[in-house]
């Protein structure tokens, strides 16, 4: 099927064909080639805080268990009994040194090896336990706590795949006094009816806020005046110091920070308990130290996206989880800063609840409208040509990074080129 597709036609410089969103055949291929063929974000090390911790995740549609074994090594195991395919782990997370299938009692170590089979004599001499472990993701690597996996032997090392974009992840992490992020604060989960790539089209879209988020801006204007929240988008963002970057492998950045003035804290809309927690912090550590620390409470002013499924937005980690070709879950993991004052981390929770409730709700409605509009077969194209007319639109530095205006659609063009590259490749996936 791959050979039948004319990619030059489907993804052009300025437009993309609707079928890559609507045709379920693409979805089936994406769930193996992209989710698993590329470095795919699985979870954060702090979600597996001690020896024998585990967490269920998905890599595309594959159910996985990420484990930390007795030797502190991380594994990504298929949650799929080698015998008759039943999942062997039902709890979303916890601690376990082994997993037993409820169907026939086969038991596996948390590193994947098959330990025991009930009534093994029934297999005579033909039971080869060594080949009947839980299948494993062959390559699992971490970058500063973020665990990724791939089944593709041809992927470069994770650090090279993340490339220059990782320096912006460093900025997000280094806001923590101890330079570590902690992901143990639950998640907000939203689903929308639509293809997962619709969320990607939006991920570094500096063009939409004044329109898509007009309800939030109007509310902010009524309640908080002109200098709070996302009001730096209320005029043409291309005339602001904000910008976008595109990176190799489809990663992208909408950098709002340069347009947000000297203090992030002074821009964030007040949250439940803001005054009482600030007062307590000032009383404890003094005004200067308190307001310095409070700079860590809001997001970093970045939309930073690692293709195919990890996004940094606000003070949260957003994971794109495709459920079907027309259904997608967006999971927003709350994060805390290791070494930060408890008041700062508590305020991070209340700030984290702001955008999903008052911003993402509008995005998800728009995503569903895109999905409905895409059902018209004769209207074939989704346009992404904003900024393309500029003579320097395709100029990149020696590391393959482009820097463009904040409302430019370069990040969308860029991830779709990475999408095309893997989709038109012959990819051989390997499991252990």
């Amino acid at each position: 099927m791959t050979a039948m597709r004319n990619w030059d036609q489907l993804i052009q410089a300025d437009r993309v064909h609707r079928s890559i969103y609507t045709d379920p055949a693409y979805f089936a291929e994406e769930m193996t080639k992209i989710f698993g063929g590329l470095w795919t974000y699985l979870c954060h090390e702090s979600e597996l805080p001690k020896v024998n911790s585990f967490k269920r995740v998905k890599m595309g549609l594959r159910p996985l268990i990420v484990t930390r074994d007795a030797d502190n090594r991380f594994h990504a195991l298929f949650n799929r009994c080698a015998h008759r395919a039943a999942t062997v782990c039902q709890e979303p997370s916890g601690t376990a040194s082994r997993f037993t299938c409820a169907y026939h009692g086969w038991t596996y170590k948390n590193s994947g090896e098959l330990m025991a089979v009930a009534y093994a004599e029934g297999y005579g001499e033909c039971l080869n336990k060594a080949e009947l472990g839980l299948k494993k993701v062959t390559r699992v690597e971490s970058y500063r706590g973020f665990i990724f996996g791939t089944l593709n032997p041809d992927m470069p090392p994770l650090i090279d795949y993340l490339g220059e974009a990782r320096h912006y992840l460093d900025i997000f992490i280094d806001r923590a006094p101890d330079k570590e992020l902690v992901v143990q604060s639950g998640a907000y989960r939203g689903t929308f009816n639509g293809n997962w790539k619709i969320a990607w089209d939006n991920a570094a879209d500096g063009y939409h806020p004044a329109f898509g988020h007009r309800s939030l801006f109007e509310m902010t204007r009524i309640r908080n005046g002109q200098n709070k929240g996302g009001t730096h988008f209320s005029r043409n963002p291309d005339e602001s110091p904000m910008y976008c970057k595109t990176f190799p492998n489809g990663h992208g950045l909408l950098h709002q920070r340069p347009g947000m003035g000297p203090s992030l804290w002074s821009r964030v809309r007040p949250a439940p308990g803001t005054e009482s927690f600030v007062d307590a912090l000032v009383k404890r550590v003094g005004e200067t130290a308190a307001f310095e620390a409070l700079e860590g409470a809001p997001g970093a002013g970045m939309n930073l996206n690692f293709f195919p499924n990890l996004m940094i937005i606000g003070n949260q980690i957003q994971v794109v989880e495709p459920l079907a070709h027309g259904k997608t879950q967006l999971t927003w993991f709350a994060t805390t800063l290791k070494g930060a004052h408890e008041e700062v981390n508590a305020l991070r929770m209340r700030i984290a609840e702001d955008f999903p409730n008052f911003g993402e709700v509008d995005d998800m409605e728009i995503f569903e409208r895109c999905w409905e509009g895409l059902q018209a077969p004769e209207a074939e194209w989704v346009m992404m040509n904003r900024g393309l007319y500029r003579p320097d639109a395709e100029i990149m530095d020696d590391k393959g990074v482009r820097t463009v205006d904040a409302s430019d659609e370069a990040p969308m063009r860029n991830y779709l080129q990475a999408y095309r590259k893997i989709m038109e490749s012959e990819v051989t996936l390997a499991v252990a």
């Binding site: 309800s215 307590a280 929770m349 609840e353």
Partner: protein, 194 residues
């Protein structure tokens, strides 16, 4: 009564560590409640909940908000037993954020409210208890909420409701409304107001 837009946001001084501690203690005290035997009290509290549901369904948001005490919280947890200081919630609104929420819904630009989103809240299994001092009540109930726009699929939420009512003057006001969705750990189709 002031419209929502006429109310200026007040500083949030009451959401303190002590307030969070009290919320958690109140939540956990429900785990071994016995039968609610005061039939009159059950009926009185059910009437309040039915009235509240009708105000929400009719989008009479300012009147709904006036059922809540000044130092109120609308709390929709993601997980059952977490400390809100350490965990994100579907919603954890103090009075100021609740006003924000309701004002946004009626800006005319909240896309998923358009055109003509309708809600119906169904309340059942109402049980109520009153403290010995007669100044605080607890009400537990079940709730189903349906939301719909013509041509779109019907959205359905199921939740346990837990209310902390407090006597303000001679009126019972809602101090805490906790809405524990049955599927709070799965992906939600964004609720308007539960």
């Amino acid at each position: 009564m002031l419209s929502l837009r006429e109310r200026s946001p007040q500083p949030s001084h009451y959401v303190t560590p002590e307030y969070y501690d009290a919320l958690i203690a109140w939540r956990d005290a429900a785990s071994n409640l016995g039968a609610a035997t005061d039939i009159g009290l059950n009926a009185e509290c059910a009437a309040l909940l039915h009235y509240e549901a009708r105000l929400i369904d009719a989008r009479r948001f300012a009147e709904w908000l006036d059922l809540l005490s000044e130092e109120c919280v609308y709390w929709v947890p993601t997980d059952r037993l977490t400390d809100p200081r350490l965990a994100v919630n579907v919603a954890f609104d103090d009075r100021r954020r609740l006003e924000d929420r309701l004002i946004r819904l009626d800006t005319g630009y909240a896309h998923n409210q358009l055109p003509d989103r309708r809600m119906q809240h169904f309340i059942s299994n109402v049980e109520a208890w009153e403290d010995a001092d007669g100044k605080n009540r607890r009400v537990k109930a079940n709730e189903q909420v349906f939301e719909h726009r013509t041509g779109k699929h019907l959205i359905h939420y199921i939740a346990q409701l837990d209310y902390w009512l407090t006597l303000v003057g001679d009126q019972w006001k809602i101090k805490v409304k906790r809405v524990m969705l049955i599927d709070s750990l799965d992906g939600l189709d964004t609720p308007t107001l539960l």
